[in-house]
Amino acid sequence: MSEYIIKNGHVFDPTQGIKGDKKDIAVKDGKIVDKVGSSAKVIDASGKTVMAGALEVHAHVAGPKVNAGRWYRPEDKHFDSHKTAGITRIEGGKSIPTVFKTGYEYARLGFTFAMEAAMPPLYARHVHEEIHDTPIIDEAALPVFGNNWFILEYLKNHEVENTAAYIAWILRQTKGYGVKCVNPGGTEAWAWGLNCLTIHDPVPYFEITPAEIIKGLIEANEYLGLPHSMHLHQNDLGNPGNYKTTIDSLKLAEGIKATNNFGREQVLHSTHLQFHAYKGTNWGDFESGAKEVMDYVNKQKNLTIDTGNVTLDETTTMTADGPFEHHLHGLNHLKWFNVDVELETAAGIVPFIYDPNNAVFASQWAVGLEIALYAKDPMRCFITTDHPNAGPFTRYPRVYSWLMSKKVRDERLNSFKKADKVISATNLANMDREITLYELAAMTRAGPAKCLGLSKDYGGLKAGMNADIAIYNINPDKFPSTGPEIEKAFAQVAYLFKSGKICVEGGKVVDMGHKETFWVDAKVPENKQVMHDIKEKFLRYYSINENNYPVPESYAPHQHIISVDASQ
């Protein structure tokens, strides 16, 4: 494989504390090395910013729910399907892009890894088919557990070992990466026409509370020592006053320590926190609760979060939080998709327009930025749009421009039609902080890599790490001052190296790389009870035979297996 030397770039790498110093980065055989021979190809990065490839910690980019969005929204790609010259295929879709466009766009933005945030185990094959077809970036998927009948039954009696054995079994069957929990108990309650809006609302029939589910899943996750922590979408998403439920949920992690061999320190990752940080009792007296929530997060070292920034676009909301999607449909009357996934989960989809003229949406925009700006430790706060729920991931450059420039942010804030209302309901107008390139590297590279348990190979530029490198046309000494300039600089990398190969050059995709699918193989002591329960549930309830459940290797031919051993 070729050798490269990236010369004279301004390097930002929180894993080594490098803050924009001019430094050469050497690449050999897909890895970053200390030095290369004189025949190495020289990439001139002078006047440019060099970072590790970025990691997406939470996005809905592959699987049945995403694809349902694609087929029921032909209008999403109608005026936005194009073929450019070169090796790329037709790229279609704005909020629910094709798998090809998904891979190309992440690569153009400087990303080399993406986590599919919600995999229904029963439809894991579909998730892997799409992951396999998404070029360039490495990916993994989190199976959902928070409304799974096995989990509800085991955790009702606080059977952590059985829960862990079942999680290990599911990870192996679905080639899954970790433990996702969406609206714990609420989605199951939705099958009864109900919801769980606090962590103490009992789930009908199962008589368990969201609090017991959350805590039990955290304990099972640490029992197994998985690379990633429990990944939580809290109850009562998107409703005024929900910040209390959010803090109540986060408090469940108090006193639990991370147990793993991957350098991960958090035991709970709280996702798209913007949607969970609202005060008030209705949209009339709505206020931002970002400060209260972030004050708590900043104190608790065993938590990580991602933002869920509203980008003020037309988009497609999709989540395993079935009742919430029904609620959204009631608000905007647009087409609603709903599906129940047997014993496991559910999903809903509704198109959504975050109209900047609407005070609520403009306030949500402000809350998302506040979350990131209140974060004291950029290694524990990651930037997401909960793609496509709060906006498409292709808007990251715009989100960065709002976070990195008070001027750009205030221009947007003051030009809202209901600016006065947004300014009085939120704290954003008083916030002066501007995220630096170094902090951005922590929030988008080193932080998410550590949170996902991938810090050995990802998120930094140390010798021995993957040669996943993004080079941007940004001179830190002359940082662009306008929103469009910042956006342009982040939207099209000068170069993207994926595992030592140049995949994007001058914003143009030039190589499809060799993407890998990550999954976790967790070894547990033999558990006859759980194996018996699985057999019984397949016979009694599932619509398919147990033998047709696992994802065969042919669905993930380029798999990268991370092994953990919890059998001792």
Binding site: R73, P74, E75, D76, H333, L334, K335
Partner: protein
């Protein structure tokens, strides 16, 4: 308000003596279908015949030029509003003529294929023949006249979209097919002949005048807006209720209409404390 703005657009468009005319005459038939997205006054504006001949046109996945299929004479005005396009010859395999136009005038002396006049925002488009399905989709302004019959999904929303016709005037001299004016939110559509099933489904504003008969399911899930039917509806939707009679003049015809409100099975907004319904007026 709509009437005023469209009639002033019409005044501008009718000042023909101040408009430059480009004439396109079909000289070769496409093997598949020709996508004439570039045949509209906005693209032609400021161009001479030879420049227009070089504009692209897709046939399947292959791109050719308008000059390959049309003989082009005349030149366009400086702006779309000063440009008139006349198309002669058989256009039954031409799609997207006049689509997205915002001003000026287009006259097609032939039948046309799909998407003719779709997403039109202004100006005047006249087809002296039939149009296929999906024409006048999401019409937002201007005047689109079809002096023949229209296919299905006339003036409807694009597949999957909930934003249908929102403005302008769409007139069909003949019949139209099914799913006409789906998700209409504004503007006026006049169908002088008959329609098949699903007229004004999900309608949330605007006005439809049907001078002939309708088959079934007129105004299904209608929230707001008005549908006037001069002829008969084969089978009436169950969600409509007669609430009285009204003497009205509709598109030049004075008559008594029975006022039905509906669709009672659909949500309805409130305005000043009163529930707003869709109105289906049946001529007595």
């Amino acid at each position: 308000m709509h009437r005023t703005s469209t009639s002033s657009a019409w005044m501008r468009a009718s000042e023909v003596e101040r408009m430059n005319t480009v004439t396109l005459t079909v000289k070769k038939q496409p093997e598949l279908y020709l996508e004439c997205e570039n045949v509209n006054p906005d693209v032609f504006a400021g161009k001479k015949a030879d420049q227009i001949a070089k504009l692209g046109a897709f046939q399947g996945k292959e791109i050719s030029t308008l000059g390959d299929f049309f003989t082009i004479t005349g030149e366009a005005g400086a702006t779309a509003a000063d440009t008139k396009i006349v198309i002669n010859g058989d256009c039954t395999k031409m799609k997207y003529i006049g689509a997205k136009m915002t001003a000026g005038e287009v006259v097609v002396n032939s039948a046309c294929d799909m998407y003719t006049g779709s997403w039109m925002k202004g100006g005047k488009l006249t087809v002296n023949g039939d149009v296929h399905s999906f024409c006048g989709l999401a019409l937002a302004g201007g005047e689109f006249t079809i002096n023949g019959n229209a296919g299905n999904y006339l003036g409807a929303a694009y597949r999957g979209d909930w934003r249908g016709m929102s403005g302008g005037v769409l007139r069909v001299k003949g019949n139209a097919g099914s799913d006409v004016a789906t998700f209409m939110t504004g503007g006026e559509m006049i169908i002088e002949g008959d329609v098949d099933i699903h007229l004004g489904t999900h309608m949330e504003g605007g006005k439809i005048v049907l001078k002939g008969n309708a088959n079934r399911r007129v105004g299904g899930q209608m929230v707001k807006g008005e549908i006037y039917v001069f002829g008969k509806i084969n089978v009436m939707m169950p969600g409509y209720k007669p609430v009285g009679e009204k003497e009205m003049e509709v598109d030049g015809t004075k008559a008594t209409f029975v006022d039905y409100i509906g669709d009672l099975g659909e949500r309805h907004p409130k305005r000043k404390g009163e529930v707003v319904y869709g109105h289906l007026y049946m001529k007595k």
